[in-house]
Symmetry: C2
Subunit: 380 residues, 2 copies
């Protein structure tokens, strides 16, 4: 159903191939996010042309609209999204715990108010598995509790215990009623507390799940706290299974996480930044609303081979943003997704060549130049 073959390592970094019922994926892999059944701004064929190999969809959004039952009747997520490659669905937990309208939580379930129609909805480990079965992704995630980045130890400890409990219940539901072509991943919690992360990982590994995710990072703790939390991950999780860092993201964080043994990533950053007129390049970020691009006939990045760079100038793209044309967001989305795919491919080649530490240092100084115009910094 799902396996990872590690082909080469460089320190703790791993270059591998993830095999899924919908094809193989080169790892480390970055998964663009298709929140509500679409990676915003692009068609699936544009997505594939960007080099994207695997995508993520949000259980929370799909369960509220159009609903798991409707997705199933429409042929499942792959059919709905027009995407024949691998898909991962999250558990919905992250969105629910971030909601202002969270109503009630205990060890059985979470009750929350739908942002779509205000109805009261419930998510339990069993229900979470049922909905993800209806969605039909290749990788499904356990329901977990993800505390905010500034949560105190007591809060995080409770979330770890509850997430371990729910992992077991999810596994049971998945074995009882699940599909054999879906692989369940457990999610490590523990915030920035090393002993809690260790406890979480140990319990999950005991469940012998097909893969493991690291949750509760990239929630405001900062780059250094994140990397510190990842320092032990290579020894905490089994070498023969895929490791997924949820919600990351920033190229510098991806590099640091790969160097610590992570294989999979997802983030809305390339697509959301695109809609906000920010372009990723190997020499820093460009803010396309900046008036300095008005008459610039050069492409976003001279060396980029994406559709946007082959056909459009910075000047045109700036104009399209000022005129509020949909094409502006589409072109930057294509460019940013192409950048992320190229970035991951470069990381993989670097691991194979055994030069990741040097390359990572060089790339970081290029992508985050100290001379970066503050106006070109991205808004996150």
């Amino acid at each position: 159903m799902l396996s990872i073959e590690i082909q080469q390592t460089d320190g703790k970094a791993r270059a591998g191939v993830l095999s899924t019922p919908h094809g193989q994926v080169d790892t480390p892999v970055f998964m663009p996010v298709g929140t509500a059944g679409s990676v915003k701004g692009v068609t699936p064929d544009q997505l594939a042309a960007c080099g994207s190999q695997m995508i993520l969809a949000n259980t929370y959004h799909m369960m509220l609209r159009p609903g798991g039952q409707t997705v199933e009747e429409l042929g499942g997520l792959h059919k709905m999204m027009g995407w024949d490659g691998p898909i991962l669905t999250d558990s919905g937990g992250f969105q629910v715990f971030s909601l202002e309208h969270l109503r009630e939580i205990d060890d059985e379930k979470v009750v929350f108010k739908s942002h779509v129609d205000g109805s009261l909805e419930e998510l339990s480990p069993r229900r979470c598995m049922e909905i993800q079965r209806q969605l039909g992704a290749d990788v499904i995630m356990q329901l977990d509790e993800c505390p905010p980045g500034d949560a105190d130890r007591e809060h995080v400890e409770r979330a770890v215990a509850r997430s371990i409990l729910w992992a077991g219940q999810c596994k049971e539901a998945w074995l009882d009623h699940g599909r054999s072509d879906q692989a369940l991943f457990g999610i490590q919690q523990g915030g920035v507390f090393g002993d809690l992360r260790a406890r979480s990982a140990e319990a999950l590994v005991e469940l012998d799940l097909p893969g493991y995710a690291v949750g509760g990072l990239s929630v405001g703790e900062g780059h250094d706290a994140m990397t510190a939390a990842l320092d032990a991950i290579d020894s905490q999780l089994p070498a023969g299974k895929p490791r997924y860092l949820m919600g990351v993201g920033e190229p510098r964080d991806i590099l640091a996480a790969v160097q610590r043994g992570i294989d999979m990533f997802d983030c809305v950053m390339p697509t959301r930044n695109a809609r906000n007129a920010f372009a990723f390049t190997w020499s820093g970020r460009l803010r396309l609303r900046n008036a300095k691009w008005t008459k610039d006939p050069a492409p976003l990045d001279e060396n980029c081979t994406c559709y946007a760079c082959r056909n459009f100038s910075r000047g045109t793209i700036r104009h399209l943003f000022m005129a509020k044309e949909m094409l502006a967001a589409t072109l930057l989305t294509i460019h940013n997704l192409h950048f992320f795919a190229e970035f991951m491919a470069a990381i993989r080649s670097s691991i194979v060549a055994g030069t990741l530490d040097d390359d990572a240092r060089r790339w970081t100084s290029q992508i985050y130049p100290s001379t970066q115009n503050p106006g070109d910094q991205n808004p996150t």
Copy 2:
């Protein structure tokens, strides 16, 4: 610079090939509208894949933002739009005369307030030619005065006289300072008054321009008044030059106009209706927001080969509209543009086969079924 070869006629209907500096176009042709430098919702390669052969851009919008000078410095409209096929620019007159902020008009010029920044702008025949030279389209239009559909005879008569005057001034400016790779079209006015249309055509033909447009229709006068105004067009305009009906549009109007000798059309209908969730099909229009499509796994049109129909169901597209995903508008835009291209190709084949009158009757009864659900009628 521009020529039309009529290959076959069926009654007054003409099947031909329009040759331009950016390639050949099968006529009758429908031109999608790229208002502000982009056909909304699609990339140029998607546009070409839809079968679109020639597009239109609005001088009014481009002159205000980013400005003719900037377009020229960015390499012209073809380069900016990423479109290597033929482009036609209108004169800006239609938009200016429709503006609430029209300030002043005399035989020299129109003064109006920009909707972008409130600045006072001026459009004269000479300025109109200058801007269209900067934009660089293959076909450029004279500045004309287009009265509303309910204008009285006196108003229309004044507009005809002014448009004739401006046609001469545009021709002069174009010959003096224009580009030899741009073809200037005159625009017939006259509203629903046959004698004024005749007077307008006669004066324009005397100017011996590369092509002629019919303006001032599809502005609220209705299908019957429009077709009546077109009845004489085949005898009024020279057979050896292209004829363009501006702002049309509705498939039934296109059929009636082709049967009266028109070669070229443009309208925002397929793209705007797409963004409003309406799909054109050979058996009537579908309103994709309708709840009845929620679980419908069928494509928009069983026989359609467009990218949207090959990959997405009505149920998915409805969901994407409800979730406000950009992909919804993109998919319907692709479908509608594909429909219009296929529709024009069918008309052309029918002319060649000599069966247009019969086919037009059959298509009209299919595309406008009397059993059409009122909720599926389009909003225009």
